[in-house]
């Protein structure tokens, strides 16, 4: 679970306008965040800049990102939900 100021900032940015995103992102922060390396944290940072609707479409599988790293990272987040 994130703890430094920049981590709290990240946590706040995971507060979104849609319940679905709150649930997925909070669960991911709790279960998967500590296991991320610096590059993956950066990817999460990039994704959190996306508009809610786009993030929703990616995380709910309505759309696959053309950026391979992001696409893989989305799969990782989705898989965390099933563990």
């Amino acid at each position: 679970m994130p703890e430094t100021a920049s981590d709290s900032r990240l946590r706040w940015r995971c507060r979104r306008g849609m319940l679905e995103l709150d649930l997925i992102l909070q669960e991911f922060l709790d279960k998967g965040y500590d296991l991320l390396d610096a590059k993956q944290k950066q990817l999460l940072d990039v994704m959190l800049e996306y508009p809610d609707q786009l993030l929703f479409d990616l995380l709910l599988g309505n759309m696959i990102s053309s950026d391979k790293d992001i696409a893989q990272f989305v799969t990782r987040i989705r898989n965390t939900l099933r563990t």
Binding site: A5, W12, R15, R16, G17, L19, E20, L23, F56, R78
Partner: protein, 590 residues
């Protein structure tokens, strides 16, 4: 920072909240060349309006015959005759214009082959005052809220609205005469406080779905503006009316939009029976939300629920075929796959009512002005204060909101409030001096969380509150249950006095934000459960087992809850529309 050193900034208008309501108002004001500040605790386009995927109502008559007067009838009937008919007429008449305006601002509404805006049927819509199903809901595919929010945000950037993103509003600031003169806010990034002095303040802080454990609402919907109004000595109106959406994913809360039933989906019980045929023979699965929610609750209570715990019913879409589901309801399929691991093209979806919409709120008139009873006057205007959107109660939804009417409400009344503010600003040219005591109080409320030592955890209290509200102020209510609710919420408030947070840093102190939000939820919970306990009838979303009938003789009135001594008051419903005959109360049959 010491209180004397807090920076002060001045604007003509302060808008707290950057959802559809706040942004629509801000745009109108900025275009009229007022100086406007918009404060939002999250980045504006992450406001909850983004979640409104279904659409907004307007009698455009593009798919089936329609007119504003039928829309008005449906809204009055949907409100179970508790809606104020002057405001409802105003909203339904304004609706087509507001849709075209949004189109002009850049919202890409879905189209028919003839190029006109596509409209889908939603629950509670009829032609000819209760006749055949109407099709009144305009949508931008299933991303209407997103499109509205982004278009309005872009327009505001163009119009040079001043945004204070990720600022948290703590409390309203006033003078001794009770005029509202701005708000005390702080920057969530740095912790720095700021006093915003404004000639007018508009609350547009959205709903309070986080009162309940199972909800469709995002975590940001904590009723902050409503609680700010309460603390400023103002009442909240009709808080007993909380809409439960009939089709939330069982156990998780996420919404399966009414559009699913609009496109032909239907509910079945454990025996595979189409249950709505019994509860609403004509409208069936498109009956209004409270009717469908109660039907599901009753099926489960009477032992016809599905699943190992028999605690939900099923929404069937599989007969529509993969193509229709993919084309018309693309999001729903993936939601089910992601959260449930099932494909609705093959399996029915487990659903149960979920807390969805706060019909009650800060009382306003149809110009968005906040009104409160003073002596014998039931609606005295509070100078300088406006409210619009889900935090307000104007009241167009009365005891029950129709799907697609909320986005309409936030845009119509966000705009109306701004128009009134523009006029008000012509007369009020200077900033009035603040009562510094109101600044002190807001400062103290914020800094109370600097206390150290052991105490109750905010997270645990929040969980307990949500459970208490679900158990004691949910879909079905009795006196005993509600009285217990009142007692339990009071106990939680007592425990709250002893709550502590462990993070005392200034930078991104989200623990402090969550503590302030919980305080807000506590006040709004009290308003809700007290009002529900008082109303001894069943009307719209408020359903009392011990008072199963609507009682127009005693209860055709609005409830007002005040924080001081948890006092209740009542005021009459405005049954007189602006230009047409009023719709007298009738049995609400679908």
């Amino acid at each position: 920072m010491s209180i004397q050193n807090i920076e002060r900034r001045r604007f003509d208008a302060l808008i707290i909240g950057a959802g559809g309501g706040g942004l629509r108002a801000a745009l109108q004001l900025a275009e009229a060349e007022a100086s406007v500040a918009v404060v939002s605790k999250v980045f504006p386009t992450r406001s909850h309006t983004v979640a409104a995927q279904g659409g907004m109502n307007a009698a455009l008559a593009n798919v089936l015959p329609d007119n504003w007067h039928w829309h008005m009838f449906d809204t009055v009937k949907g409100s179970d005759y508790l809606g104020d008919q002057d405001a409802i007429e105003y909203m339904c008449r304004a609706a087509p214009k507001v849709v075209y305006e949004m189109e002009h601002f850049g919202v890409p509404f879905s189209r028919l082959d003839n190029g006109k805006i596509y409209q889908r049927p939603f629950g509670g819509q009829s032609q000819n005052f209760g006749g055949d199903q109407a099709a009144r809901t305009c949508a931008a595919a299933d991303r209407t809220g997103h499109a509205i929010l982004h278009s309005l945000y872009q327009q505001n950037i163009r119009a040079k609205t001043n945004f204070f993103d990720e600022y948290f509003a703590v409390d309203l600031l006033k003078d001794e005469a009770g005029n509202v003169l701005g708000a005390f806010v702080f920057n969530i990034h740095t912790g720095e406080e700021l006093i915003i002095e404004a000639k007018t303040t508009l609350l547009a802080t959205g709903g309070a779905g986080q009162l309940y454990r199972t909800t469709t609402n995002a975590m940001i919907n904590t009723g902050d503006g409503m609680a700010m109004a309460l603390r400023a000595g103002l009442p909240l109106q009709d808080m007993e009316f909380f809409q439960f959406h009939p089709t939330g994913i069982a156990g998780r809360g996420m919404l399966i939009t009414e559009g699913a039933r609009g496109e032909g989906g239907y509910l079945v019980n454990v025996k595979g029976e189409r249950l709505m045929e019994r509860y609403a023979p004509k409208a069936k699965d498109l009956a209004s939300r409270d009717v469908v929610s109660r039907a599901i609750y009753t099926e489960v209570k009477e032992g016809r629920g599905c699943g190992p715990e028999q605690d939900h019913v099923m929404l069937k879409l599989d007969h529509l075929g993969t193509d229709v589901i993919q084309k018309r309801l693309p999001g729903i399929r993936q939601t089910c796959i992601t959260f449930l691991g099932i494909d609705p093209a093959e399996h029915p979806i487990p659903v149960y009512p979920t807390a969805h919409y706060t019909m009650g709120g800060i009382p306003t008139d149809r110009f968005g002005r906040v009104v409160t009873p003073v002596k014998d006057t039931p609606e005295e205007v509070v100078n300088g204060l406006y409210a619009a959107g889900e935090c307000a109660c104007v009241s167009v939804h009365g005891a029950n909101r129709l799907g697609g009417n909320s986005i309409l409400d936030i845009l119509v009344f966000g705009r109306a409030a701004a128009n009134h503010i523009i006029d008000y600003l012509k007369d009020v040219r200077y900033h009035k001096p603040m009562d510094e005591n109101s600044v002190d109080r807001a400062y103290e409320r914020l800094h109370r969380w600097d206390r150290t030592g052991d105490g109750e955890s905010v997270e645990q209290l929040r969980k307990d509150l949500k459970r208490t509200m679900e158990d004691n102020c949910g879909v079905f209510r009795t006196r005993d249950i509600l009285e217990n609710g009142v007692k339990e919420v009071h106990k939680l408030q007592e425990r709250m006095k002893n709550a502590r947070i462990t993070d005392h840093s200034g930078l991104f102190n989200t623990a402090r934000v969550e503590a302030l939000e919980l305080e807000n939820l506590m006040d709004v919970a009290l308003a809700t459960v007290y009002s529900a306990c008082a109303r001894q009838e069943s009307r719209g979303a408020h359903s009392r087992i011990d008072f199963p009938e609507r009682n127009d003789i005693h209860w055709m009135k609005h409830t007002l809850f005040f924080r001081e001594n948890c006092k209740l008051d009542f005021k009459p419903v405005r049954t007189k529309p602006l230009s047409v005959a009023s719709f007298p109360p009738k049995a609400r049959v679908y």
